[in-house]
Symmetry: D3
Amino acid sequence: MSTSKLTHFVESGAARMVDVGDKAETLRTAVAAGAIEMAPETLARICAGTVDKGDVLGVARVAAICGLKRTSELIPMCHPVRVTGVDVALDPIDAVAVDGRAQLGIRATVRARDRTGVEMEALTAVTLAALTVYDMCKAIDRGMRVVDVRLVEKHGGKSGSWVRGEPDGRA
Amino acid sequence: MSTSKLTHFVESGAARMVDVGDKAETLRTAVAAGAIEMAPETLARICAGTVDKGDVLGVARVAAICGLKRTSELIPMCHPVRVTGVDVALDPIDAVAVDGRAQLGIRATVRARDRTGVEMEALTAVTLAALTVYDMCKAIDRGMRVVDVRLVEKHGGKSGSWVRGEPDGRA
Amino acid sequence: MSTSKLTHFVESGAARMVDVGDKAETLRTAVAAGAIEMAPETLARICAGTVDKGDVLGVARVAAICGLKRTSELIPMCHPVRVTGVDVALDPIDAVAVDGRAQLGIRATVRARDRTGVEMEALTAVTLAALTVYDMCKAIDRGMRVVDVRLVEKHGGKSGSWVRGEPDGRA
Amino acid sequence: MSTSKLTHFVESGAARMVDVGDKAETLRTAVAAGAIEMAPETLARICAGTVDKGDVLGVARVAAICGLKRTSELIPMCHPVRVTGVDVALDPIDAVAVDGRAQLGIRATVRARDRTGVEMEALTAVTLAALTVYDMCKAIDRGMRVVDVRLVEKHGGKSGSWVRGEPDGRA
Amino acid sequence: MSTSKLTHFVESGAARMVDVGDKAETLRTAVAAGAIEMAPETLARICAGTVDKGDVLGVARVAAICGLKRTSELIPMCHPVRVTGVDVALDPIDAVAVDGRAQLGIRATVRARDRTGVEMEALTAVTLAALTVYDMCKAIDRGMRVVDVRLVEKHGGKSGSWVRGEPDGRA
Amino acid sequence: MSTSKLTHFVESGAARMVDVGDKAETLRTAVAAGAIEMAPETLARICAGTVDKGDVLGVARVAAICGLKRTSELIPMCHPVRVTGVDVALDPIDAVAVDGRAQLGIRATVRARDRTGVEMEALTAVTLAALTVYDMCKAIDRGMRVVDVRLVEKHGGKSGSWVRGEPDGRA
């Protein structure tokens, strides 16, 4: 195969990792949230620390922090980012919704100083925390659901800030 | 530290990977589903294949299949499993809900012949597909949400079959 | 390069992964232990749960369980094994040794039903727990040491049982 | 999204991991080979052990063995396999070809007892060994080429044996 | 073991990761290429999208992009690099060579802003794309070969530009 | 779950990855050391290169260099760091201690230009080298112990230099 042949490789629709090399390295923050809906008695056992597999909230938090560091391995077109700080909070929500289900809220805040944002890292952290809760409690409540995983806000970079629910933040 | 000292290590509440070594190696199947809610125009672009980062549905499917093979690395108390087969389906749902949002449905079917089930593999596949869609479309629709990620059914193993919505399938 | 040429590749001293394909798939157990030596006040803070980075014992336990599942990726000649169960115990040892140092004992028990033993998985779990403790406490005690990481006992497989300190268990 | 909606997800052309759960767990062997073409003086330095970055042949062998254990993470539709044994041989080929280039031959033999073959593991081993050689020598010979990476033979499984060059082995 | 003892550790021939900490963080680009040789009918099926395992070109492209982000895990002496952009092109080459074989050309362009080049990332992308094609088509054409994987050009860094075939670019 | 609800997530004792985004990117160096204690005849075989599984010292060195690049995946609260250089030395210590045991000393020097130190990378390298030695020799000496893994010195960053055994370096 000649080199000249190679020079006119052209494909439309082909996936690619968009180049961010010309973007400035600035402070980036992203906050994502979500929840896992479950039977009220499941939430009670999580909070009481009586789930057989151990400390659900503690393990979910570690899973979120560990796993988000691998976001660019899991999400194909994501750029590798050196995350500088992470907080993951898990908050039992006692308000029982219409259908008698309880929820455990999950919220992840991720920071980096990089050429691209950390929204995917924050969303990955929330989903891995939720899946870890599911795994540790599935023997007692297979019907749990992960719900409403979303970006809450992001700051930094050329596109600036975005906050959900504000006029320019759709939905 | 003497060995005798070590023999009475006792801790309550400590996380552990429950032993499944005495369970039989049988055929296991799990189906999980979920959706990603978005603006109708985002869904239209995904289906038309005009998203800048490339073929969203194709990349999401690969992300799901690749990523689920690492479930036991991501979910701390999960056992490593040799998955034997996977199908991931992505289905645009044209019915626009109450609030004018469209959805892309995601469904993963995972099979293995092992001592433990593959529910977590199926749920991991669904969430990674959803996050990949988010990543590839976030430049045009930051307000997307991952919703309703849940086990649909599972078969095999000592606990047998569970199908959501049936009398013994909670929620 | 002809195929015939390739048939007499011979190298002495070359590393290789020894074939275990003819060994029977049997129940394997390994117990490893070790300790991390530190200032008594460091151990006191770990036990009181007042280390800034969070719950040291809980995070170390998760690090050990998660990390050991990747043993065959980290230790080059190790065979991949499907671990079926893991317990990791961390035990503050109040006895202050000759030089006024305290210790946190670590002990990992790993089980599998496989063609090769799980000694390396157990040793990997112990060292990763120790390194996690170091990481979370290094801001207050850089002088900590990981000491005495060793196999305590192993059972199963053709070579049978080995118990440290018994006549046939060297050292 | 209703469950009934999900039951008729149908997609043609979608990538999937073909199910091998009904195949028997049998002994599988695969041999792959390839070579890296280089300047004769580069090969001389590799053999003399005078490359600045260290023992090229030894490091390449470890890279091959380590990396092949992650084949199913790298090749999307590959099944995870528990490899039971691996040999990697690197063989300087002194015969200098038409254009004055030397070659280092690489050959990997992989064995497993599984439901699917290990051809991809053997091919991955060969390419990772070749890339490692490239990496360690690129400061002195950027023009090296990886050539002729191919399956040499495979045995086991329903499709039985295949040997390159035999009547039923194409090419 | 005394510290003084440790101060004169000396080993010749030992592999090491060469320090690049004093190099400037500059824009780096590398282009690598290669091809996979196959039966003409295999190439026809790939292009027609009728291979059973799915969209071969799309999956190979994702495998290349995902996998190259793990180059430093796979190639032992490689430095970790934050890649900023990647393009992978796959180009069916209709010209049937001397022996009646067709080829699928692969070309990867990688960019980063770092202290070291991205040649290995580009070469890794090309080989993983090729291996993925092999995997998805091996049921119909076991005789495929990966051929001519090479660096095409690189730019940036102290050693500046290198272009294959130019007077200073060997081979 | 309302966003307002999420704004007062508060948890004491929760693990977190401390933010280092405001720290300067400076040159960081860390040296860690340790040893693996063994029967004198085991050390003799390692040095003579007659261990069945191959070149123990060479494989251990590669394991250390490869594995330390994954430190932030293994140690949950560790920040990802782009390591710029690594040296790993293995030194047989002939002095036979009180109880007739020999030792193989291990020492890793790691450098980076980052916002956080590389102590954990150096300690991870030492322990992985030690575990690899154990793995390759365990068939002949199950009684080996990893001993005295510790930070020897670190330089760079706001906290500056720390050297073990100096007035401000505890222990």
